[in-house]
């Protein structure tokens, strides 16, 4: 019944899956973790990115290149979304919580249905040299697509960590997250910085979307599954911690993979949400919280 080899394979697969989860959550880690925007539409934007990648891939583009090309456009989209959110809710202040949440919820619905109307409910996938092949490692076979996602995830996390610690704007974003009124007193404009940061978060989400469609076929309703996963990772990580995001992604990936092996696929979706509930109930500031 229980085999050590199988467990090892589950853990290895879990690590790859975990890095992928970290990569799809990192945009949310910025938007929600650092900026406190209740961005429940994050997974929907990601699925939208996956469909844009799909469109470009039909013209023979490599999905990763497509994802990179999409980033500036998503950056602008993110700035627009934040601007709208700011004007409509943050500026008014009172009760922004409930309405802001409802707004992003509605936005997610609109994106999802827009995709259904544009592409239908069928699953879509892309083709590339590394999709469908796998790397043999002794008895184990590791799908190349997971390795690609793993590589991109590591690069993305490293780039963002460097950005937030080394560049002026990056540090300014962290400053907004820590103490917005203080920044205002210094004469800086927190809204512009947050707008910029939200743009970056959304640009990263475009690349996440490209990875999403590399790892598996996508459908418009996929964002509902990823609400749990991305928020579980971000909350588990402690809001806004980039390295924490990777660690949390790994925890989720490995636990999901083990549950998948031991109990079967029908229990796997509950793992992310179960983990999320436990963390929220016991340690809402997350494992690496600020």
């Amino acid at each position: 019944m229980f085999s050590f080899d199988l467990l090892l394979e589950a853990i290895l697969f879990g690590i790859l899956l975990g890095c992928f989860y970290a990569a799809v959550s990192i945009g949310l880690s910025v938007a929600f973790g650092l900026l406190d925007v209740p961005h429940v539409a994050h997974p929907a934007v990601m699925v939208f990115g996956a469909y844009c990648t799909y469109l470009l891939a039909r013209y023979g583009w490599d999905p990763i290149v497509a994802g990179l090309v999409l980033m500036p456009f998503f950056f602008l989209l993110g700035m627009a979304i934040y601007r709208f959110y700011y004007e409509a809710f943050e500026k008014r202040g009172t009760e922004a919580g409930v309405r802001g949440l409802a707004f992003f919820f509605g936005l997610a619905l609109i994106i999802e249905v827009g995709l259904i109307l544009g592409f239908g409910v069928d699953q879509r996938m892309v083709e590339a040299r590394y999709i469908g092949r796998s790397l043999a490692l002794g008895e184990m076979r590791i799908p190349m697509r997971m390795l690609v996602a793993f590589g991109v995830a590591v690069a993305l996390t490293a780039a963002l960590t460097l950005y937030f610690s080394r560049t002026f704007t990056g540090r300014a974003i962290k400053a907004v997250a820590q103490d917005e009124p203080a920044l205002r007193l210094l004469g800086a404009n927190p809204v512009r910085i947050k707008q910029w940061a939200f743009g970056i978060a959304t640009a990263v989400t475009a690349l996440s979307g490209a990875m999403l469609i590399i790892v598996g076929p996508v459908e418009p309703g996929l964002d509902r599954v990823y609400i749990g996963r991305t928020f579980a990772v971000v909350v588990l990580a402690g809001l806004g911690s980039m390295t924490g995001t990777v660690a949390a992604g790994l925890i989720l990936g490995i636990s999901e993979s083990i549950v998948l092996m031991q109990f079967g696929a029908s229990w796997a979706p509950a793992v992310a949400f179960g983990l999320l509930l436990v963390v929220l109930g016991l340690r809402p500031q997350g494992l690496f919280g600020r």
Binding site: L101, G106, L117, F273
Partner: protein
């Protein structure tokens, strides 16, 4: 407010009477199939508003409470052949208990954290029922409706009148909460939880109470659903659309007054039915999304807020007060 309550109770009696009259006169059964759904959403939106509107805690998990209620009814029906009234009471109890648990979560969670935790409830409970063979697992189970009870000639008419009764009950409960000290306490929590706690409002007790009542009503609304469909299956029972409908109904109608969710839910789900039938199911969800966004941005007080504004503006145009 003069003669508080009398117009309300007259209205409630008229609503139930109207439902009974319709059941007695209209022969066309599809009408009751169609009308049952908006009534369900009246219960859901009203229940959602007790926590979301008064206390400001956004619950995305309506589907969890609704689905748990539906499955509680199915388990009782399959194992004991329990009558519908018992099923509804049991469903309300189970979902009330779930609401109690969710209420305890509010001790630590607010805002988006609470909202996300309630989404987690949907998926976890749904997963449990997907894996429970006795109630059909992922494929679901067919249910054979028993004969309708005495004065009714058709089961669907009975469900319609029952749901109308439940809607009126839910609204009466919400109205009671709104106008009593409980509602004042909940509104204090919404405006500033710290200030409320500091002024001696028993915040945790009130939040747990609101969660429990809200959950119980949602569960009760879910209980007759398996009988309505003669079928139960996890994916559609825990459908996120129930959460969306409850939230959107309340937000669109207006969350400050008990009448808001009633208007919002009736308009929204009737519109949805029309759009589903005439255009498509996808456009129907799109309509909800767009309306929700438009209302939270442009009319944060909902339809009721718009009406109040209109009424306030009217006298200045020369109408005598």
């Amino acid at each position: 407010m003069k003669a508080p309550g009398r117009p309300f109770w007259i209205g409630a009696a008229v609503a139930i009477g109207l439902a009974a009259l319709l059941a007695g006169t209209i022969r066309y059964e599809y009408f009751f199939y169609a009308a049952y759904i908006p009534l369900t959403f009246v219960v859901l939106a009203t229940a959602w508003n007790i926590l979301g509107g008064y206390a400001g805690y956004v619950n995305f998990g309506t589907a969890a409470f609704f689905g748990l209620g539906a499955y509680t009814a199915v388990v009782l029906f399959k194992s004991l052949g329990a009558p519908l009234a018992v099923q509804i009471l049991a469903a309300a109890t189970m979902s009330g208990l779930l609401g109690f648990g969710a209420g305890l979560l509010t001790l630590r969670l607010r805002g988006i954290f609470f909202a996300i935790a309630t989404v987690a409830l949907i998926v976890i409970i749904q997963t449990v029922f997907i894996n429970w063979r006795y109630v059909g697992g992922a494929t679901g189970v067919q249910l054979l409706r028993p004969a309708p009870i005495a004065p009714f000639t058709s089961y669907i008419k009975m469900l319609f009148v029952l749901m109308a009764l439940m809607a009126v009950t839910a609204v009466a409960i919400a109205r009671y909460i709104e106008t009593s000290w409980i509602g004042r306490g909940l509104r204090a929590i919404r405006d500033s939880e710290e200030a409320a706690e500091a002024s001696g409002v028993p915040t945790l007790k009130l939040k747990v109470f609101a969660c429990t009542v809200s959950g119980a009503l949602m569960g009760a609304a879910g209980a007759p659903m398996p009988m309505y469909l003669s079928f139960v299956e996890p994916a559609s029972t825990f459908e996120l659309n129930y959460s969306i409908g409850a939230l959107a109904g309340a937000m669109i109608g207006g969350t400050a007054h008990w009448l808001g969710p009633v208007i919002g839910a009736l308009l929204l789900s009737s519109l949805q039915q029309v759009v589903t039938v005439t255009i498509s199911n996808e456009v129907n969800v799109l309509v909800v999304g767009v309306l929700l966004v438009v209302f939270v941005v442009a009319a944060p007080e909902g339809i009721l807020g718009l009406l109040t504004k209109l009424r306030r503006r009217a006298p200045t145009r020369g109408a005598p007060r």
